[in-house]
Symmetry: C2
Subunit: 128 residues, 2 copies
């Protein structure tokens, strides 16, 4: 992998900081695969994954990144935030393709009750 995760990371942080849903799509591969926290089955394609990321960014408050691991085009990004009164800790596992776009993204969150609450709110927003 010649892909540089650090260049990607700069773009990613700007998008998350500015909650820029329009630009999210530009950093996703067209056939991106996302493993969302609540579901086993992967979400596929820029359209759906872009929408879901936007909704998640709008739903988690006080979203803050902490430890970051970068090995070539493979990244692990720890974050914290809250849903209403409930705190959460999570991780983004990201694989970049040769163009530096997200090919695969898996997101895991703890604890169980906050994850369930997040899944409920996000699920409703995705339908609307």
């Amino acid at each position: 992998m010649g892909t540089d995760g650090h260049a990607f990371l700069e773009k990613w942080h700007r998008i998350v900081r500015e909650r820029d849903r329009a630009v999210v799509r530009e950093i996703l591969a067209e056939d991106v695969l996302m493993g969302a926290p609540p579901h086993w089955r992967k979400l596929e394609g820029r359209e759906w994954v872009g929408k879901l990321l936007g909704v998640i960014m709008d739903t988690i408050e006080d979203f803050t990144y902490h430890r970051e691991w970068v090995q070539g085009g493979e990244l692990a990004l720890e974050f914290t935030g809250r849903v209403g009164k409930h705190g959460l800790q999570g991780i983004d596992l990201i694989s970049l393709n040769d163009e530096g776009k997200i090919q695969r993204l898996d997101v895991m969150i703890r604890p169980l009750n906050t994850l369930a609450e997040l899944a409920n709110i996000v699920g409703q927003k995705m339908m609307s």
Copy 2:
């Protein structure tokens, strides 16, 4: 941090492979803090964390590590496994102390239904 995560990793893999619950305690700091997947409140101390790790190792089947990120004494280890028929993907976020023992361990798992099932089984085993 002068701690070498790679030396730790070798030990960790052996313990997980051999499901060696006796040795688990030896790689935990006495005042280790663990963020378990279901609960927000951290579990504290070698006694409890060692017991919980043992129970989790006994409960998750086909436990396999995949991508691993190591930066000094900070590690992120991706794994998959299953609980009964249900697949899971998870991550161990590990901070080592200066002695190369686990000072802090946070574990996140997806998807929601497998996490709930795991929490239920592990909870019952921890009480017994």
